[in-house]
C-alpha cells in the first residue's frame, strides 16, 4: 500500500520535468484530447439523454401528489443531473472506458519494451506518455460533463414531449427555477469533474505504466485501474461534496 503511494507520487513528480521538445508534447496533447475526450462524446451524450429521460419518469412517479406542483419534477431532475449524475456517474463510466484504455495501452507498451525504447532514447517516458493524458483529461472532461448536462436536460425534455407524464412547460419551468443557484452548482460539478479526471488518468496510467510480465498481466492491471479509480472517485466524491457544499 505505502509502496504504491510512494511510487505513484514519484511518478507524478516526473511529470514536472521540463519536456525535451514542446512541439511534440503539444501534438501529444491534442492526440490525447481527441482520444480521451472526443471519442467518448457520443457515449456520454447518449447515456445522459437516456438518464435524463428515466429521471423524469422516476421523479414523476415518486411525487405523484396533488399538493406538489409538476415543475418540482423538472427541478429535481435538474438538481440530480447537475449535482450527482453528470459529474459522478459519468466520471465512473469514463473510468471504465478511458481507464481501461489507458492502462492497457501503457501496459502493452511496457511489456513490448516500447517504454524501455523511449527511455533509452533519452525521452522522459512518464512526461511524454502520461503528462498529455492527465493534462488533456483535465481540460476535456469538464467539457464532456457540460455536454452531459445539456443532453440530460434534453433527454428529459424529449420524454415530456413524447409522453404526457408532465407538461413540457412545467418541466422547463422546473429546470429554470432557482436559476441564481445554477452557476454555483455547475461550478461545483466542474470542480469535482476536474478532480475525478485527475484520479482516472493518473491512477490508470500508474497501473498501466508499472505493468510487469506479459499480456495476461496487462489485462489484470487494466481491471485494477478501473476498480481503483472507481473506488477513489466515490471516496473523493464524499469528501468533495462535504467540503464544497457545506
Amino acid at each position: 500500500m505505502f509502496f504504491h503511494i510512494g511510487r505513484y507520487t514519484t511518478m507524478l513528480s516526473f511529470l514536472f520535468v521540463r519536456p525535451e521538445k514542446f512541439s511534440s508534447y503539444w501534438n501529444r496533447l491534442i492526440e490525447e484530447i481527441i482520444q480521451l475526450g472526443i471519442k467518448s462524446l457520443f457515449m456520454v451524450v447518449l447515456m445522459s439523454a437516456f438518464m435524463g429521460a428515466v429521471l423524469v419518469i422516476q421523479t414523476a412517479s415518486a411525487i405523484e401528489s396533488a399538493w406538489i406542483p409538476d415543475y418540482t419534477v423538472g427541478f429535481t431532475v435538474k438538481q440530480t443531473l447537475i449535482l450527482e449524475f453528470c459529474p459522478t456517474i459519468i466520471s465512473l463510466i469514463l473510468a471504465g472506458k478511458v481507464g481501461s484504455n489507458i492502462a492497457s495501452e501503457l501496459g502493452t507498451m511496457r511489456v513490448t519494451e516500447q517504454i524501455d525504447a523511449l527511455e533509452v532514447m533519452g525521452v522522459n517516458s512518464i512526461g511524454y506518455l502520461i503528462g498529455p493524458k492527465i493534462l488533456g483529461s483535465l481540460f476535456i472532461f469538464p467539457v464532456l460533463i457540460m455536454y452531459s448536462m445539456f443532453f440530460g436536460f434534453l433527454g428529459g425534455w424529449a420524454l415530456c414531449f413524447l409522453t404526457d407524464i408532465i407538461p413540457i412547460e412545467q418541466y422547463l419551468m422546473g429546470i429554470q427555477s432557482f436559476s441564481y443557484e445554477n452557476y454555483e452548482y455547475i461550478r461545483y460539478a466542474l470542480i469535482k469533474t476536474v478532480f475525478f479526471a485527475f484520479i482516472i488518468t493518473s491512477v490508470s496510467s500508474y497501473f498501466g505504466y508499472y505493468t510487469s510480465g506479459g499480456a495476461l498481466e496487462v489485462g489484470r492491471q487494466s481491471t485494477k485501474a478501473v476498480v481503483y479509480s472507481s473506488i477513489l472517485i466515490l471516496m473523493f466524491n464524499v469528501l468533495l461534496t462535504q467540503l464544497l457544499l457545506s
Partner: protein
C-alpha cells in the same frame, strides 16, 4: 569504448549476473554470446541503464554511467541506439514515423531533412515503400529491420543490438550482420551485438564475450572460438553432430 566493471545483478535473490567485466571496443562489432537465459539481455539493459545493477560500474569513453545525475544520463543516452530483442517499435506510429521519432524529438533538422534521413535509414535496411504501414502490418523480419533503422537514425556512438537476426532467414540475417559491421566501421561506433547464432559469430565476431550462468566465461574472437578447449564454450559452438565431426578434423 565501453568498459563494464564487476557488474552483478540479482532478481529476488537469484543471481543473474555475477561479477561481469569486459571492454567493448570502438569501431568493432563486440559480441555477447551465450545460451538462452544466460543473462545477455539483462546485461545489456544494465549497460544502457534500464536496469540498475546491484554493483559495478559502466564507463562510456571515460564517463561513468552509474551514480551520475539524470541530466548526464540523458546526454549519454542520446548517443545510444538500441535494437530490442522484439523490436519494440511504437505501434501507434507508422514505419516512417517510428524512424523519424528520435529525429523529431532531439534533432534540429527541418521536416525535409528528417524525411531524407528517415528514408536513407530505411533504404539502408532494405525497407522500401513501406513508409505508411503500421508495425502490425509488416512481417517480423521487417519490423526488426525498421527497428535497426530507428536505432541508427541519430548516428549513435554506441549501438546495442539484442539478437538482430533472430527470426530472419539466413540470407537476410547475413545482410543485417554485414550492415551492422559496415556502419560500425564507417561511423566508428562502439557496437554491441547479442546473439546465439554461430553464423553471425563467425561472420562478424571481432571481440567476443561468452556468458555462462551469469559469468564472463571466455573472451576471444571468431578464430580462437573454433579452437578453444573450454568445454562449456565447445558445447555451445559445436552443437550438431556435423560440427563435432568438423571439429575433430581441425
Amino acid at each position: 569504448m565501453i568498459e563494464i566493471k564487476n557488474i552483478s545483478k540479482s532478481f529476488s535473490g537469484v543471481k543473474v549476473l555475477d561479477d561481469v567485466s569486459f571492454t567493448f571496443k570502438k569501431g568493432q562489432t563486440n559480441l555477447i554470446i551465450g545460451k538462452s537465459g544466460s543473462g545477455k539481455s539483462v546485461l545489456t539493459k544494465c549497460i544502457v541503464g534500464l536496469l540498475e545493477p546491484d554493483s559495478g560500474d559502466i564507463i562510456f569513453d571515460g564517463r561513468s554511467f552509474r551514480g551520475i545525475k539524470t541530466q548526464g544520463k540523458k546526454k549519454i543516452r542520446k548517443e545510444i541506439g538500441m535494437l530490442f530483442q522484439a523490436g519494440a517499435l511504437f505501434d501507434s506510429l507508422t514505419v516512417e514515423e517510428n524512424v523519424a521519432f528520435p529525429l523529431k524529438m532531439f534533432s534540429e533538422l527541418s521536416t525535409e531533412e528528417i524525411a531524407d534521413r528517415t528514408n536513407f535509414c530505411l533504404n539502408r535496411v532494405d525497407i522500401i515503400n513501406k513508409n505508411d504501414l503500421f508495425p502490425a502490418e509488416i512481417s517480423g523480419g521487417m519490423q526488426k529491420r525498421v527497428a535497426i533503422a530507428r536505432a541508427i537514425a541519430m548516428n549513435p556512438k554506441y549501438l546495442f543490438c539484442d539478437e538482430p537476426n533472430s527470426g530472419l532467414d539466413p540470407v537476410t540475417a547475413i545482410v543485417i550482420d554485414e550492415l551492422i559491421k559496415e556502419i560500425t566501421e564507417e561511423f566508428q561506433m562502439t557496437t554491441v551485438v547479442i546473439t546465439h547464432d554461430m553464423n553471425s559469430v563467425l561472420e562478424i565476431g571481432e571481440n567476443i564475450m561468452f556468458i555462462y550462468e551469469g559469468k564472463n566465461y571466455w573472451v576471444g574472437d571468431k578464430d580462437s572460438i573454433l579452437t578453444t578447449d573450454v568445454e562449456e564454450l565447445n558445447n555451445f559452438v559445436y552443437v550438431s553432430k556435423f560440427l563435432r565431426q568438423f571439429k575433430e578434423k581441425l
